[in-house]
Amino acid sequence: MHMQRSYIFFFLLSGMMLAASCRTKLDVQPSHLVPEQKMWTTKNDARSAVFSAYALLRSALAGNNAWLVFGELRAGDFTSVSRGDLSAVTANQLTASFPALENWSNWRRFYAVIYQANLCLEKLGTVHENDFRYTEEEMKVDLAHVRFLRSLAYFYLVRIWGDVPLVTRAVSGDFVPLERAPQARVLDMAAADAQAAAEALPWKYDQQSPELRSQYWGQPSAFWQGVIAGKGSAYMLLAHIAAWRGDYLSTDKYARLVIDNRSKGGYAMVNTAALTGNTGVFTGQAEDIIFAMPFNKNYQESSASGHIEEWVLAEPFISKAQPDIFISNDSILRIFDEPNDERFKLTDGGAGAGNYFTGFGNPVPLFSKIRLLSVTGANPLRSYQSAIVVFRYEELLLLRAEALLYLGKTGESAQVLNSVRGQRGIGEYKGPLTALANAILQERRRELLGEGWRWFDLARFEKLEQYSRFSPADLGKGAQFWPVSKSQLSAASPIQQNKYWQQ
């Protein structure tokens, strides 16, 4: 009996101990996700959230090499070797049935950037209130970063899809389907964001700017150069937004602002060796970089996918028989139609010289301008670290030349164009000033080949019908833009397919 009693006691005791703590027992904090109420409490939360917005934009551009598909492939300079989905893009058959095309037509990943940016705009203030170490100065710079990213994301969206939904708030849970907003309104908002960012961002992260006197996240200026936005990036974005809307007066204004302050930003043209070398421009941190998204292998950010190398390189660079896309010999000669070009020229023997191409004359020459492998040595791993260069100084100069041209200042325009041409060994432009527009477009084609500009350039110069299968009527119906993805159309959304792709 005594034994039984002690057991009852034991049983009751253990039961009590358990029961007494049961509510707290169930309150287990998850260790692999951060519930909303734990977020936005410390300085590091702000950092993670802001750099997440950068990472998301990089992801949107890198996923399936989207930046290249949107900006480059549609323009037809590149040809697909055997991949059906890439052939469909180069032929502008954007509703063809391939999983990759469905993926590219989905704008979700750009809106992830926008959601994250909206969230930061709403919540960074909370961090400032919760953590005294997060100073107002830092907060303002961070807010400017996310405004810049939101603006840039919208700018991509408008260039790729035309009219798109405009979301300015981080909605929690109540995801009411949205209608498209007119491009003009979206661009107004993007320009306003870029303007606000330009005002709050420093030229450089060297503790000299009045906008940020402290060291940004404990890193020196060189660490940040080019890979996050500064004043220069924001003004350049403004210049581009203006150019897209045909407001070349503003383009000229903002472009000149950056060019005149190039020493503050630390911008300069680079020579051809730096452009085509594997330690130059495409590390994302060369002198001419105004904004680039890096994939530095030292931070374990190199990847097999998300780089042009994935598609254009083959033997002898990597163990792959043929690239996925290439520029044909004929096209190469059409693009590099001037002698002595350091990027690519024909030698007297008829062979090709210059790092832009390898194996000129082969049935499938390689486009080798960008070739930043993560590892060196024989049989390298197919992992790359070339940055996605969003803005660089040469491009800015060419944009300025374009603006000056459309503003009627042809002489000045030619002068700016020549400064870029001179850097590449082709000397001054000698053609008639009436053909200057063509010359600028052609120089952009050469200089920015493989950097995701060509399709947007053709659209801005209104040359799409010359270089694609589209008639002016097609373009009037929106053929220049991408179709909306099937999943978007089926998601109870008021959004209609773009008129051209409806048929």
Partner: protein, 969 residues
């Protein structure tokens, strides 16, 4: 104290208890009979005896099954065993009463799995959705791939109960929402020590396959090229097929000599038992080796088992149980699984050759690689029972369940485009469980008797894993990763190519339960059960879920010797609402932040220029704050009949409706999320289960017992979240009112021979496929809605992935000392998409592709599907003419299989038996998977997973022949 704090949630339960306690007086109860059944009560689901179908193991011990789930196939109605591959170690998925949730994502398998319970201890799984999220291609297990359900030695199993209705949750909590498989182990035998021995050995026979070489593939491709290819496509004609003088691809197709082999199977187990009523034990050890017939696969398991019961003083019983397991698995070496694990696609221009003479080097290299897959588990339990007063007992059970799950892998550079690969996965899972309950029984008069149980369970699970992977080691001799963490200098690997991942998860469950049983005159039985489960997975405050279950049974007629036609008649009714435990913590914590900033091909990149990132789960979907427990509503009706003295029949009708199920619904992409996780899906499973058992022949000579098990299941999506009519759910398309396991297909009606045949070619609007005009050589798909364009709106729901009708027919024939068992299993009404044919025909997008699509296994050189019968479309067409999702590839996949045949001879009674003192000696021979009858042409249709797409025949279920001996001393 207890009630003050927490039992207020269980007020109802108390009312119930009080009601039962106040009725009647305590009458003299006979002391619990000391029977074997009485002693093992602690292991069993005692409160719901009638509704569970159980399988008594001794009759199946001669079968060389290594998994418990497989054994249920065709033996217990209501269980559909799905198995994607015949490879040793790939555990089958037993579905109980169909799908509980649509299976659109890989992680949905977790919601559809039954709970395994061993001696009352719910097993913690060794795979979970968390580690899966690391993988870009989560089709294989990141760890050893040894399922936790293999960690049970069937040799030690006495009985398996399948709990199919609401009683599963009532007994074992909300993890059992998809049913429970309750296993009880063999009890000790009293008396002098007894030895038991079971040894078997045999061979799995190498399958005979039709192999092909380059000629076959070339002759298959050329007609397409001749008819449709442009010069650019001719230029890409596969280089390996270009030259038919090349022995590599055009030599003898004898690769199967290296790939398939006859494989030994063996197992041995020994146990010893004995003791007195006050102290007894059973101790066992065992070994099982299952070698695969293909690709050098194998599973080896070793286990130790100990069961000890003592009664130190009358009224106190202590039962202990310990089981330890270790298993090794040699996994298949298929390219897809290897490349999927590495997330690095090697050059696929030249496939593996069909000629054995050229495969030697490949096999040598495979041997220089290293792959260790191992899993260990320990389950230990102490059960203490005290008799407090007459009729009142208290039991306290404490158990620890630990398992680990590891995989080490090294792929030599020479196999891998000269970049070696290492990975280590270590997963450790632990569950501590404390279960206390009081039982109270009293009888009032001869008619009434009551029994009540009140208890509480606390479970704490800890899951953790580490995963390290690195590329490009210094040489193929150094097979480990060593990184100098201090500096930038690499010891073996470049630091930038070594990635580490870890995760740790803690989960607690607290449950209170009460059961009240009432018997009236041994004719009418009623049982009410109520439990409340709290889970830490609901960090949003909706911790608790109540699950009430009621069960009634009525013996309308008891069996008696006078009955000629109708014997016993019993009716059974179970009803209840039971909560469903979510399979991960991604739902219950409300909106959360995570690292989710990668992209296809680089999913796990977590930083931007070394700065950490933390964002909303854009890819995995938004979760709002108000997620509640999903639940199932059950109604089961059963009739059990005794017929013609020799026959019994039982029929169960059930309906189970899952409500408020969590599902990811698509949201407008303008919010950046791929979807939102919400409650609100409703699915229903209805069905009937029939068991018919009887003696066809009985008497002195030949005795023949037959048992037919059949089940019919129909499922339907009743409601989709937000009441949308249809939605995409992973790989599945769901429509309200339609089954959840259907394909969504274009309907194929032939081919447009020329451009002019396409509707609208001669004027009007040209028929298009998603905006791309159809042309000659394109498929003639039915324009269901007649809008002049073929889109997803023209797809129809067709076919069934889960067979509506499944069952087994088991026969036992005995004659003298001989007996034989024959088991046929069958499935009817199910379909498969012939993905093997679709992939071969879609060569234009796959040949040499730098993705998993371009991978050709060695089994590519095995012809299975008859490709001649498909129309010859233009494979380069922009309309994806050979997409798998069209009814061209939909095939009937019913099957009938002779699954097992066993012949036994009992040697008892021979003279030497008496002299040796053996209690039992039996020799047996078993043959398995003898034949399969099916209209399906692409391989064995019983090997199919939840996707319903069948990709050929890489790892068959072999014919296996074994002999064994079973002795008791």
């Amino acid at each position: 104290m207890i009630s003050l704090l927490h039992f207020h949630r269980l007020r109802n339960l108390f009312l119930l208890l009080t009601a039962c306690c106040s009725a009647g007086n305590v009458v003299a109860q006979s002391a619990p009979a000391d029977t074997a059944a009485g002693r093992s009560n602690w292991k069993k689901p005692v409160f719901f005896p009638a509704s569970a179908d159980s399988l008594h193991l001794p009759s199946a011990r001669e079968l060389l099954y290594t998994y418990s789930g497989q054994l249920l196939d065709g033996r217990v109605p209501g269980v559909s065993v799905l198995r994607a591959s015949g490879e040793p170690g790939i555990a089958p998925l037993p579905l109980i009463r169909g799908l509980s949730m649509p299976a659109g994502h890989v992680a949905d398998q977790f919601a559809n799995r039954p709970l395994y319970v061993v001696n009352g201890m719910p097993l913690v799984r060794n795979d979970h959705p968390y580690a899966l999220t690391l993988k870009e291609h989560p089709f294989t297990d990141i760890g050893s791939g040894i399922d936790v359900t293999e960690m049970i030695d069937l040799e030690n199993v006495e009985e398996m109960y399948v709990l199919r209705g609401p009683e599963a949750v009532a007994m074992y909590g909300t993890r059992a929402a998809a049913g429970a498989i309750v296993i009880t182990t063999r009890d000790p035998e009293l008396g002098r020590y007894h030895l038991g021995l079971n040894v078997y050995g045999g061979v799995a026979v190498k399958p005979r396959v039709k192999t092909v070489n380059g000629y076959y593939q070339r002759d298959f491709l050329l007609p397409f090229y001749r008819q449709y290819a442009q010069p650019a496509q001719w230029a890409n004609f596969p280089a390996y097929l270009a030259d038919s003088t090349q022995q590599v691809y055009f030599g003898p197709a004898d690769w199967d000599d290296l790939y398939y082999k006859n494989a030994l199977q063996h197992g041995a187990s020994l146990n010893i038992t004995g003791g007195t009523r006050r102290a007894n034990f059973r101790f066992g050890v065992g070994e099982h080796t299952e070698n695969g017939v293909a690709d050098n696969t194998a599973l080896r398991k070793y286990n130790v088992f100990y069961d000890m019961n003592i009664i130190p003083v009358e009224g106190l019983t202590i039962n202990t149980y310990v089981q330890m397991f270790t298993a090794r698995r040699d996994r298949n070496r298929s390219l897809v699984e290897r490349l999927g694990e590495m997330e690095y696609i090697t050059n696929q221009q030249a496939p593996l050759p069909p000629n054995k003479a050229y495969l030697g080097r490949y096999y040598e290299l495979l041997e220089t690689g290293k792959e260790n897959n191992f899993a260990n588990s320990v389950q230990a339990m102490v059960d203490v029972g005290v008799k407090l007063a007459r009729g009142l007992d208290v039991r306290s059970q404490f158990s620890i369940d630990y398992n680990d799950n590891d995989r080490d892998m090294f792929v030599p550079g020479a196999l891998n485009d000269y970049n070696s690969y290492n990975s280590y996965f270590t997963g450790v899972n632990r569950r501590i469980r404390l279960n206390n309950f009081l039982t109270y029984g009293r009888a009032a008069g001869r008619l009434h008797s009551f029994k009540a149980q009140l208890g509480q369970t606390y479970e704490e699970d800890q899951l953790k894993y580490d995963y390290i992977r690195g590329w490009r080691g210094p040489s193929d001799f150094i097979k480990i990763i060593q990184v100098n963490t201090g500096g930038n200098q690499a010891i073996t690997h470049d630091k930038s190519l070594v990635y580490t991942f870890k995760d740790f998860l803690k989960q607690r469950t607290l449950s209170f339960y009460g059961n009240v049983a009432y018997d009236y005159g041994d004719k009418f039985h009623a049982l009410l059960s109520l439990r409340s489960d709290g889970s830490s997975l609901f960090g949003n405050g909706y911790w608790w879920a109540i699950s009430p279950v009621a069960s009634f049974s009525w013996d309308v007629k008891k069996a008696s010797s006078q009955d000629r036609t109708l014997g016993a008649v019993q009716l059974q009714l179970n009803a209840g609402r039971t909560a469903v435990m979510p399979s991960s913590d991604y739902y219950g914590y409300g909106p959360y932040f995570t690292v989710d900033a990668g992209w296809a091909g680089a999913l796990n990149i977590s930083t931007y220029n070394s700065m950490p990132s933390l964002n909303m789960p854009f890819r995995n979907g938004y979760t709002a704050g108000g997620i509640r427990w999903p639940y199932n509503d059950h109604l089961d009706l059963g009739v059990h009949l005794g017929l013609f003295r020799q026959w019994t029949a039982s029929l169960n009708l059930y309906t189970r409706t899952g409500r408020e199920l969590m599902a990811q619904v698509p949201v407008d992409a303008a919010y950046g999320f791929s979807g939102q996780n919400v409650n609100g899906m409703e699915v229903n499973n209805k069905g009937a289960e029939l068991g018919l058992e009887g003696k066809v022949l009985s008497g002195r000579g030949l005795r023949w017992t037959t048992r037919l098990n059949m089940q019919y299941n129909r499922n339907k999506v009743l409601r989709l979240p937000g009441n949308v009519p249809s939605m995409e759910y992973g790989v599945r398309h769901l429509e309200a009112g339609q089954p959840m396991d259907q394909f969504w297909l274009l309907q194929n009606q032939g081919i447009y021979a020329t451009d002019a045949d396409v509707p609208g070619a001669s004027g009007g609007k040209l028929l298009t496929y998603n905006g791309i005009p159809l042309r000659g050589g394109d498929p003639r798909w039915e324009d269901v809605n007649g809008d002049g364009t073929i889109t997803n709106a023209d797809r129809v729901m067709k076919g069934r992935i889960i067979a509506p009708l499944r069952g087994g027919w088991n026969n036992t024939v005995e004659y003298g000392r001989w007996s034989a068992d024959v088991l046929f299993t069958f499935a009817a009404g199910n379909h498969l998409l012939n993905g093997d044919a679709a992939n071969r025909l879609d060569f234009a997008n796959r040949e040499g592709a730098n993705s998993l699509d371009g991978v050709k296994e060695l089994t590519f050189w095995q012809s299975a599907s008859n490709l001649e019968k498909y129309p010859r479309y233009n494979p380069w067409s922009l309309v994806n003419p050979y997409q798998a999702e069209q009814d061209l590839f939909l095939e009937k996949a019913s099957w009938l299989k002779l699954q097992a045949f066993t012949l036994r001879h009992d040697l008892a009674g021979y003279g030497f038996m008496k002299r040796s003192g053996l209690r039992k000696l039996q020799v047996y021979a078993t043959a398995m998977n003898l034949f399969t009858l099916t209209p399906y042409k692409g391989g064995d249709p019983s090997l199919a997973g939840l996707t319903g797409i069948h990709y050929g025949v890489p790892q068959p279920l072999p014919r296996t022949f074994t002999i064994g001996i079973n002795a008791d001393l």
